[in-house]
């Protein structure tokens, strides 16, 4: 505070401020004293936003770390692992292709002459390197052909849960190594998109069972597939019914209520939660609509524009998954789901590893937290 006294003292002697422009002698109480002179004990510095001209020697450069982080992230590249689950014929591959605007699905890559429905559920993943405006991403799409297609679908979630837990296991093993890699390859499933067939009534027992079990280990985003078969009223009714059933069964889909960090998050996420599940239509073909080329489905009664929010909710899904919440999805996977798996794993006796794969799920749930 001595500094202030000197300034005021100097003020009286020399006429008018020559050193501190914009500083008036009268307004002593509310004078904007340049930060460089008042040195607060615990520093709070501001960039050169306060008044005065060129002198920015109060600027340290701490916020340059944001730029450094950005550079580092761009150099490293990102990884995203998405799993699509649903009966065959629901348009999973098409939706993936639409989301990423390129042929990312397995079908497009390995075009087989005839795609037979497999006898058991298989897990097939395929990876792509995509880049946009300097941001590189390794996208892995994990397909689950055969899910829900058998006559007896009991325990159809087991292979999927096993796969997800295997990825966690692989990451854990790498993490507890003595000599571990600089960057542990992340193959954990970040997001699982579950396709609900557009019956218009309610969730089927298979849907409920699957989502109930898997929402505990992975972020589930349920979508209503082929939503162009529902009218808007039917769609709303269906969605309401689904939300009720999810709530009744205690299924917490992404964005989970319990992981909202602050009021702002909660507000944003509430809006999203009111729209879940998204009614989507996928298409990788473009048509001429009103002079523009748009992705859509052309039928005799009209063209459904995929990215038109009046037609379907694909745009919301895309925004949620990619443009706004992608980092959050990955964070929840790594800091919550993976940690839960790790706790479970490290607590158990070193005997049965296969226990976590869906079979004694209820047995597990009793132990959990």
């Amino acid at each position: 505070m001595d500094d202030c006294a000197d300034i005021y003292g100097a003020e009286k002697m020399t006429k008018g401020p020559e050193v501190f422009p914009g500083y008036s002698s009268s307004a002593m109480s509310e004078a904007v004293v340049p930060d460089a002179l008042v040195s607060p004990a615990v520093g709070s510095m501001y960039g050169e936003k306060a008044g005065g001209p060129t002198v920015d020697f109060s600027y340290v450069g701490i916020d340059a770390i944001l730029e450094q982080m950005r550079r580092k992230a761009m150099k490293q590249g990102f990884e995203l692992n998405i799993m699509v689950v649903g009966q065959s014929g629901l348009g999973k591959s098409t939706l993936m292709n639409t989301l990423f605007k390129s042929k990312v699905s397995r079908k497009s890559v390995l075009a087989t002459a005839q795609e037979k429905i497999p006898k058991t559920i298989e897990i097939k993943s395929i990876s792509h390197d995509i880049e946009e405006k300097g941001v590189r991403m390794k996208l892995t799409v994990i397909d689950t052909p055969g899910f829900g297609d058998q006559i007896n679908n009991e325990n159809c979630w087991q292979p999927i849960m096993k796969f997800i837990n295997d990825q966690y296991e692989a990451y854990l093993q790498e993490e507890i190594n003595i000599n571990r890699k600089k960057r542990i390859p992340d193959s954990r499933v970040h997001c699982c998109i579950y396709f609900i067939p557009p019956t218009g009534h309610c969730l089927r027992p298979l849907d409920v069972e699957f989502m109930r079990r898997l929402s505990k280990v992975v972020n589930i985003v349920p979508v209503i597939a082929k939503a162009d078969t529902l009218t808007l009223e039917e769609r709303d009714f269906f969605k309401k019914k689904i939300r009720e059933e999810l709530r009744a069964n205690g299924i917490d889909v992404y964005p989970q209520k319990e992981f909202d960090e602050d009021a702002e998050d909660r507000m944003i996420n509430e809006k999203i939660r009111e729209m879940i599940p998204f009614a989507v239509v996928g298409s990788d073909q473009e048509y001429q609509v009103n002079g523009r080329r748009l992705l859509g489905r052309k039928t005799k009664w009209g063209t459904i524009e995929v990215e038109n929010i009046a037609h379907c909710e694909f745009a919301y899904l895309r925004d949620l998954l990619i443009r706004t919440h992608m980092q959050n999805i990955k964070d929840i996977t790594s800091s919550i789901h993976y940690e839960m798996y790790r706790v479970r794993r490290l607590n158990e006796n070193n005997t049965a590893v296969a226990h976590a794969n869906g079979i004694p799920e209820h047995h597990l749930a009793a132990h959990e937290m």
């Binding site: 050193v19 930060d35 460089a36 002179l37 607060p40 004990a41 615990v42 520093g43 709070s44 510095m45 960039g47 002198v55 020697f57 600027y59 340290v60 450069g61 701490i62 916020d63 340059a64 944001l66 450094q68 982080m69 950005r70 550079r71 580092k72 992230a73 490293q76 590249g77 990423f100 605007k101 390129s102 890559v109 990876s127 792509h128 995509i130 946009e132 405006k133 941001v135 991403m137 390794k138 093993q173 507890i176 003595i178 000599n179 571990r180 600089k182 960057r183 992340d186 925004d319 990619i322 706004t324 919440h325 992608m326 980092q327 959050n328 800091s335 940690e339 790790r342 706790v343 070193n350």
Partner: protein, 427 residues
């Protein structure tokens, strides 16, 4: 999180794909940055240097605040470290800065152990991070990272070469922390001397195998400036929080009768370079190096020391869990053994003590007997004496009685004689 380096050329199974339209994941770096802004950043600097060399002033100057440091005395018996944490904010970035200063470094007569407290401090921070990482229920993202990210080593401006204390300390620290040597109070060295000094220092460091922190060259955007800066190491800095008016500006400077040394003038000293490198360009890299190189090294050594291995002698991967379980069993067995040992020792001690006590008791008993005997003897002697005395007494009284009788008899006999004489005398 952002993980494996995407290969420049596609590897097996990963095919490069071109996008037909705007998908939108170019906002990913922004999402990442936003999250970091919410979380805040953490940075820890360790300043090593002799007392009075200007560590606190430099920190004040670097971060443009007053960290409220007080001067330390030169009479510390041992090197200590003092850590202080501050919360700084610039525009929307919150930084939790921890400045650790050495107190009493270089002041002792015997400086052999001077480096030890510093090494211990750094290891302690690594250890607590390792503990947190190994916990079962952990919260790594909430953890306040106290590991030292950068170490500024203050070299005193002798102009000749490094002191042996400097070399020894830096050698001990180079595998634990990113060392950035700086020449303190650089306004005492002239330009030409400074140049020679810098060259001497760097050559000494190289010849002694000290690995100081090199600014990273792998990112094209900053490679050029980093290369230039690498050539200017060690930075010759001047710190000052006072302002002097130069021209029509107020600048941070030191005023001497012969001129003004401006801190932020690149011709006068390398302060701006240091600030640029430490904060504006490489802060993130410092943190990354600390985590991926120094911490991993510490972790590896620590775990190996505890006996964990990745592969057992047959080169089959050994799970940490198994090793841990085995170790735990071992430890329990050891514990049991120790307990048994202790119990045995206790029993033995008790026996010993008992024997001791018994001995003492016996001895005491013996003494008692002896004393008793003595007492009885004396008593007998006294009795004897008493008897003798009584004998004497009785014989004496007898003799006395006899003498008295004799005397009485002789008296009556004399009386008769006298009477006879008297009677005869009359006649």
């Amino acid at each position: 999180m952002a993980s494996s380096d995407v290969a420049r050329h596609p590897d097996k199974g990963v095919r490069p794909l071109s996008l037909a339209g705007h998908v939108g994941f170019d906002s990913l770096p922004d999402q990442l940055v936003n999250k970091s802004i919410c979380q805040g950043f953490c940075f820890n600097i360790l300043c090593i240097g002799e007392t009075g060399i200007g560590k606190s002033t430099l920190m004040d100057t670097l971060f443009n605040t007053n960290f409220e440091n007080f001067e330390s005395s030169h009479f510390e018996p041992q090197v200590k470290l003092r850590a202080q944490t501050y919360d700084l904010q610039e525009s929307n970035v919150r930084l939790r800065l921890t400045v650790v200063n050495t107190v009493g470094f270089g002041d002792q007569m015997n400086k052999q152990e001077s480096y030890q407290p510093v090494v211990d401090y750094i290891d302690r921070q690594f250890e607590s991070y390792l503990q947190e990482e190994l916990k079962i229920k952990r919260s790594l993202h909430n953890y306040h990272d106290s590991r030292v990210h950068a170490c500024l080593y203050f070299i005193s401006p002798s102009g000749h070469s490094l002191k042996s204390l400097d070399l020894v300390t830096m050698k001990k620290l180079d595998s634990k922390v990113n060392i950035i040597p700086v020449i303190a109070k650089a306004d005492t060295i002239s330009k030409s001397e400074l140049h020679k000094f810098k060259i001497k220092i760097m050559s000494e460091l190289v010849s002694n195998g000290v690995q100081i922190y090199q600014f990273p060259l792998d990112d094209e955007t900053v490679a050029k400036v980093n290369t230039t800066m690498n050539g200017h190491l060690p930075f010759a800095v001047v710190g000052s929080t006072e302002e002097v008016s130069v021209g029509n500006k107020m600048v941070k400077a030191r005023q001497y009768p012969w001129g003004v040394v401006q801190v932020e003038n690149e011709n006068h000293c390398d302060f701006v370079k240091l600030r640029e490198m430490l904060i504006c360009v490489n802060m993130e890299d410092l943190r990354e190096q600390t985590h991926t190189r120094h911490y991993e090294l510490y972790r590896r050594c620590k775990l190996e020391e505890m006996g964990f291995k990745d592969t057992d002698p047959e080169c089959k991967p050994v799970s940490l869990q198994q090793t841990y379980e085995a170790k735990r069993q071992e430890f329990l067995v050891e514990l049991q053994k120790r307990e048994d040992e202790m119990r045995q020792m206790f029993v033995q001690r008790v026996k010993e003590k008992e024997a001791e006590l018994k001995d003492a008791e016996r001895e005491l008993q013996g003494r008692f007997e002896q004393l008793k005997r003595l007492h009885a003897d004396e008593k007998a002697a006294l009795e004897e004496k008493k008897r003798m005395f009584e004998d004497d007494q009785s014989s004496f009284s007898k003799r006395r009685a006899a003498a008295q009788l004799l005397q009485a008899q002789s008296l009556t006999a004399n009386g008769k004689k006298d009477k006879d004489r008297k009677n005869s005398g009359f006649m």
